[in-house]
Amino acid sequence: MGMLKDMSHREKFGLALIAIALIALPFVLASAGTAWVRIMNFAVLFVLLSLGLNIVVGFAGLLDLGYVAFYAVGAYVYALLASPHFGLHLPFWVILPIGAAVACIAGVILGAPTLRLRGDYLAIVTLGFGEIVRIFMNNLSNPVNITNGPKGINRIDSFQVGPINFAGSDTIAGLVFSGPIKYYYFLMLVLLAVIVINRRLQDSRIGRAWVAIREDEVAAKATGLNTRNIKLLAFAMGASFGGIAGGMFAAMQTFVSPESFVLNESIMILAMVVLGGMGNIWGVIAGAVLLSFVPELLRYTVEPVQMALFGKLLVDPEVLRMLVFGLALVLTMRFRPAGLWPETRHRREMNEDRA
C-alpha cells in the first residue's frame, strides 16, 4: 500500500492508535450492553453504503435516489440462497459475490438508458426504480412464492467460517466473542477493503475521469472520454457495493422484508454522503457515523424530554429523524455545499459561481 509509505512517523503512530481503539471498541461497547455493539454494526453498515453511494454521487456527480434498491437486491439474494424458504443454504462467501453481481446487473440495466441523458433524469428514474423494486418484493409471492410478500423471509443463515458460527458466542482466550462482535470484526475487514478500493479508484485513471465528468461533462467528452461507459461504471460499482452491504444486512438481521428498503433509507444514505462531504472518503465516513447515531441520540433525549414536559410522546422520534435528514440536505447545500469535511477539489467546484 502506497498510503503507508508516504506517512510520517507521527501519522503512522496515530493510525496505530486508531486501529487499536477500533479493535478494542466492541468489548467496551459490550460492557454497556450488546445492543450497543449492534448499533455500532449498523453504523458501520451505513458507512459501507455511504461509501458505495459516494462513488456514484461524490466521485461521478450522479444523483442516485434509489440506492436502497441495490441494497435490497443484495439482501434478498442472500435471503433466498441461505434460508429454509427455498431450502438452499449456500455459504456466505459464495452468496455475497452473487448478490454484488446481481445488483451490478440491475444497475447496468437501469443506468444504460438513462445515463446518456441529463443528470436529473437519472435522479428521477432511480427514485422510481426504488419504488418498483419494493412493489415487486411485496407482490412476487403470487402465483409463485419468490419473496414471500410483505411478510418477508426469516430464519436466514448467519455467517459460518469453519467451525465458527456468527450466530452464537465463542470464548477465545478468556474473551467472550458474541455474535455481534464477530460481525463487527468482519464488517471492519470489509470496510478496510472498501476504503482501500475507494482510495485506489480515486487516484486511478477512472477516478480522474469521474471527476472530469462531474466537473464538466462536455469538456470531458471533448478530451475523448467515453463518458457514458465511465458513468455506467460508477453506477454499476456503487450498485455492487450496495449489493454486498445488503447481503451482510440479511445475515446480521436473519430476516428481511420490504419494510427495510423504503425511500427514506435512500434519503438517509444520501444525507450521510452530502453532509460529510461528497467525494471525500473520510468526510463520508464521518457523516455516516454522525447520522447513524441521530436516532439513538433522539431516543435518549427527545423522548424523555417530551415525557417530562407533556407526559406523553407528542412528536415521534422517527419523524424528527427524517426532518433532521431533510434539513441536513437543505442546509448543507445552502451553507456548506461541499459538506462538513470537503474534498479539496470538490470544495473549489461547489463554491464556484457563487457570489
Binding site: 441523458l117 431533510g326 437543505v330 447545500m333
Partner: protein, 328 residues
C-alpha cells in the same frame, strides 16, 4: 358493463389530474431546468388543507357545494405560499450553484414537507367526507360519476386557462421569453426573478386543485400520496416532452389511459392459462378454468415508471419536446 369504455373513463379522470400536476413540473423545468421534486408534496398539502376545512365545516349547515369550494379556496393560497417559499428560500440561493445542489435541496424539501404533514395530519389515511351526493350516469354500458365529470371538465378548463395565460398575455410572453433565455429576457426588461417565482406559484395553485380532485376521487388523503402522484406526473411531463405545456397535458392524459387500461388488462394478459397452447405446458394447473396470473392489478404503479423508461430509451425528448441531452 363495457370494461374497455369504463377503463377509458377512469383513465381520463386520473389522467387529467396527472396532467394538471405535470404542468407544475413542466413550467418550472421550462424556465429554470430544475426538477422540483417537492411539487408532489405541495399537491399533497393542498389535499390535506382542503380535507381539514371540509371536515371542520361539514356539520356547520353550510351548503355542501360552498363547503367544498371553501376547501379549494383555502388550499390554493396555502399551496401558493409554499410554492413561493420553496423558490425563495430553497432554490433561488442556489440558482448559480452546480446542478447537483438544487436537486439535493429539492429532495430535502420534499422530505421536510412530507414529515411536516405527518406531524400535522398524522400517520393514518384521512377519509374525505362524502358531503355531496355523487350520482353515476350510464353511457354506452359504462358508468361515469359526477365527481369524474367534474374532474375532467375542471382540468380541461384549467389547462385552457393556463394556455391562454401563457400564450395570450404579456406576462405569458415574459414566461416564454425567460424559458428561452434568462439573460436575454433580463436584458429586455423582464424581471426574471418575478417570472421564476410566478411559475412556482402558478404550478402550486394548479397543484392544490389537483390535490383536492385526487383526494375526492379516491376519497382519501395521506401524507405519502404526493410521492407516487408526483412521480407519475413527472413521468407524464417527460412523456409529453418536459418544458412543453401542451406536452404535459397530452402526457398526463396518455399516462392515465395507459395506466387504467394496463391495470385493467394485465391480469388477463399475464394469465398463463389463457396463453395459446397452455394445456400442453401448464397441464393440471389450468384444469377446470383455473387461473395462473403472473401480474395482477397490484402492479398498477409500475406502468408509469415503465413508460418513463421506454420514453427515455426511444424518444428522450418526449412526444412534443426538444432535445434533453446535456447542454454545453
Amino acid at each position: 358493463m363495457d370494461i374497455l369504455l369504463q377503463q377509458i373513463i377512469n383513465g381520463l379522470t386520473t389522467g387529467s389530474v396527472y396532467a394538471v400536476v405535470a404542468l407544475g413540473y413542466t413550467m418550472v423545468y421550462g424556465v429554470i431546468q430544475l426538477i422540483n421534486f417537492a411539487h408532489g408534496e405541495v399537491v399533497m398539502i393542498g389535499a390535506m388543507v382542503a380535507f381539514s376545512i371540509i371536515t371542520s365545516l361539514a356539520g356547520s349547515g353550510m351548503p355542501p357545494l360552498a363547503i367544498v369550494l371553501a376547501g379549494v379556496m383555502a388550499a390554493i393560497p396555502a399551496c401558493m405560499a409554499i410554492g413561493y417559499l420553496l423558490e425563495r428560500a430553497a432554490y433561488r440561493p442556489l440558482r448559480h450553484a452546480p446542478r447537483l445542489a438544487p436537486l439535493i435541496t429539492a429532495i430535502g424539501m420534499s422530505i421536510i414537507l412530507q414529515h411536516a404533514a405527518l406531524l400535522i395530519w398524522g400517520r393514518n389515511p384521512l377519509a374525505f367526507p362524502q358531503i355531496i351526493e355523487n350520482p353515476s350516469f350510464s353511457i354506452g354500458g359504462a358508468a361515469i360519476s359526477a365527481v369524474q365529470i367534474t374532474i375532467i371538465l375542471l382540468s380541461f378548463t384549467m389547462m385552457a386557462g393556463l394556455s391562454w395565460f401563457v400564450y395570450r398575455t404579456r406576462f405569458g410572453i415574459a414566461i416564454r421569453a425567460t424559458a428561452e433565455n434568462v439573460h436575454v429576457a433580463s436584458l429586455m426588461g423582464i424581471n426574471a426573478n418575478r417570472v421564476i417565482a410566478a411559475t412556482f406559484v402558478i404550478g402550486a395553485a394548479l397543484g392544490a386543485v389537483a390535490g383536492v380532485m385526487y383526494g375526492s376521487y379516491y376519497g382519501i388523503a395521506h401524507y405519502t400520496m404526493g410521492f407516487t402522484l408526483g412521480l407519475k406526473a413527472f413521468s407524464a411531463a417527460v412523456l409529453g416532452g418536459i418544458g412543453n405545456i401542451a406536452g404535459a397535458m397530452l402526457g398526463g392524459l396518455l399516462l392515465g389511459l395507459v395506466e387504467a387500461l394496463g391495470t385493467g388488462y394485465i391480469g388477463d394478459f399475464s394469465d398463463l392459462c389463457r396463453w395459446p397452447g397452455a394445456e400442453s405446458w401448464m397441464g393440471e394447473r389450468c384444469a377446470d378454468g383455473a387461473n395462473f396470473v403472473l401480474f395482477g392489478s397490484n402492479y398498477q404503479d409500475v406502468f408509469a415508471f415503465l413508460m418513463l423508461i421506454l420514453v427515455l430509451v426511444f424518444r428522450p425528448s418526449g412526444l412534443l419536446g426538444e432535445r434533453v441531452s446535456e447542454r454545453a
